[in-house]
Amino acid sequence: MQPVRVVLAEDGVLLREGLAGLLARFGFEVAAAVGDAGALRAAVAAHAPGLVVTDVRMPPGFTDEGLRAAVELRRADPALPVVALSQYVELSYAADLLDSGDGRRVGYLLKDRVVDVAEFADALRRVVAGGTVVDPKVVRQLVRRRRDPLERLSPREREVLALMAEGRSNAAIARELVVSEATVGKHVGAVLAKLDLPPDDGTHRRVLAVLAHLRGEGGSAAG
């Protein structure tokens, strides 16, 4: 299998090198590693990568240049897998990304996640495979903001919900929570039923359904 070609954008040199090492170690091919949003656009145009990993905050303005570049790239090519790394949870960042294209092949993760290298590489692979990956902290914020229907969920079901939003399969959730896959299936069914969501028919679909539901009314509270 051809390795996935990655364009990496991160302005911190050490972290950029670390990420490049991580990607190579996990079988990705780093086509270009750049330090600002302009270079990111140019590199994507030049290398036509199979995955873009970008820091949200980059020169010259050090606000959300990376994210805006990512959204732009997704608008030009909705099939381009993009993972944005953010310093803190910002629901509007996650929303901008999820709203770009059809909401598939995108990821929004906190930067600190990269140090759990295997999980991070796994998340990248899921995005490349067409999945949607959202940081558990984003889900936690959304859950906190949507009280009413979520209060009906048991703590275990909320854990399952957070992992579902991360785009994990039932098997992966079972491994994470150290329970059987059948138990997970039961929890997932309960979650979907309690949130009035259509029954499970594919991982990315249910991620989108869960996120759309969570963002529905409560997500705009921070405005």
């Binding site: 911190g12 050490l14 972290l15 090198e17 670390g18 990420l19 090492g21 991580l22 170690r25 905050r57 606000t63 959300d64 310093q87 803190y88 949870v89 910002e90 629901l91 509007s92 930067k111 600190d112 990269v114 140090v115 759990d116 290298v117 936690r140 914020q141 906190r144 903001r145 009280r147 509270a221 921070a222 405005g223």
Partner: protein
């Protein structure tokens, strides 16, 4: 007026010291009085023209407002001869004719061509008369001489005048000092920023201090964020990658696992530390986003109702943020609140922030406490903080901060 004149330096202080007459101050005062007559000399021909009914004296009146500013500048320098305290001019840089400072300088120019030369002339006349009295014994030998308002015919008679003049010399010295002091006082009032402006200036300088403090916090946050935090993430990542190259179960693997765990803990600690110094989300996304994030981090459930469009001045945003953070921390930690509401909106020129909780109440803005410090910060940006927390609750912390949208 004691506060204004009472400075120890300058003629004011010198007048109170016993050695005043023996020192240079009577002479400096005299110089100050005499040197102030320049504008009157320039104005004299115009005054005569006015008396003679010649219309061109009006030119002097028209030129007054334009002359007032440079004269004021010169006068502030001249004032240093008798009053070393600096005088800041009240010009803010706007159109000259629309500034109160210009008109106060014009008022001073008016005094410079009327009262100032009149006082100087009176004192000069007195000095001249005393001088004539003093030398009259030398002149009287030649026959009767007119000394001021009197005529002396003999040396003996002249000696009486000379003695009186000698006795009056100290009075003249103090009169010069007193006149210089009065002139300096009036000059300071008219040429400075004015008493009300000085109060504004005090507030402004406090606000500048808060600004500087705020900027410093942001700088420290940025340095830590771009430096230590990024490098720590890079380091932790390196440890994780190194761990992958080591077979499971060996002592090296255990050591790297421990190092990785500790590095991750350090990452979390550093993130919290940096967040406490100045939250990045506040810098990047503004108060509304930061309050939302704050609510999400709170131990007690928080309802957020923030109606703010656009960004506010950084010091207002961060003051409001830290008021909310302290109030939320108190609600969760001390009051045991089950529900907290954070509200923020703009009302007139004010940002109104309210944090209400249903906890035990009894919070006090004790000296040195977190709330007292925040009240100080609110005051420094020209706002205020109100606290209502009866025993049994509920507690409401309200901050009102003047704000205008930041560019």
């Amino acid at each position: 007026m004691g506060g204004v004149i009472g400075a120890a330096g300058g003629v004011a202080g010198a007048l109170r010291r016993p050695g005043y007459l023996a020192g240079a101050w009577p002479w400096r005062s005299a110089w100050y009085l005499v040197s102030g007559t320049g504008p009157a000399l320039v104005a004299a021909p115009f005054a005569m023209a006015a008396l003679a009914g010649r219309p061109w004296f009006l030119a002097a009146l028209a030129a007054g407002p334009f002359a007032a500013v440079p004269v004021g500048r010169w006068e502030r320098r001249r004032l240093r001869a008798v009053d070393p305290r600096p005088v800041r001019d009240g010009h803010a840089g706007g159109p000259r004719l629309r500034e109160a400072a210009t008109w106060r300088e014009l008022a001073w120019l008016g005094l410079l061509v009327t009262a100032v030369p009149a006082v100087a002339a009176a004192l000069a006349g007195a000095a001249l008369m005393l001088g004539v009295f003093l030398v009259s014994p030398l002149l009287a030998g030649e026959g009767p001489v007119a000394v001021g308002f009197a005529t002396v015919g003999s040396v003996g008679g002249a000696l009486v005048y000379a003695g009186a003049a000698l006795a009056l010399l100290p009075v003249l010295g103090y009169a010069a000092g007193g006149a210089a002091l009065a002139e300096a006082w009036a000059a300071r009032r008219l040429l400075g920023t004015g008493p009300r402006d000085e109060l504004v200036e005090v507030t402004r300088s406090r606000a500048r201090l808060v600004d500087a403090f705020e900027a410093e916090r942001r700088r420290i946050e940025r340095d830590l964020h771009d430096g230590a935090q990024q490098r720590l993430v890079g380091l932790t990542l390196q440890i994780a990658l190194a761990r992958l190259e080591v077979p499971d179960g060996g002592p090296a693997a255990a050591g790297l696992d421990a190092a990785h765990r500790q590095a991750k803990e350090l990452m979390a600690e550093l993130r919290e530390l940096i967040h406490g110094i100045h939250p990045r989300v506040l810098t990047d996304r503004g108060l509304a986003a930061a309050l939302g994030e704050l609510a999400d981090r709170s131990a007690a459930p928080v309802a957020v109702d923030v109606r703010l469009a656009g960004r506010l001045a950084p010091e207002v945003e961060s003051t409001a943020y830290f008021v909310a953070a302290e109030a939320l921390a108190n609600a969760a930690k001390h009051a045991g609140a089950r529900h907290v509401a954070v509200r923020a909106h703009r009302s007139g020129g004010l940002l109104v922030l309210e944090v209400a909780d249903d906890g035990a109440g009894g919070a006090a803005a004790a000296d040195g406490g977190g709330l007292a410090g925040l009240a100080d910060r609110a005051a420094a940006v020209g706002g205020r903080m109100l606290l209502s927390s009866p025993p049994g609750g509920p507690t409401v912390v309200r901050a009102e901060l003047p704000c205008s949208p930041s560019a």
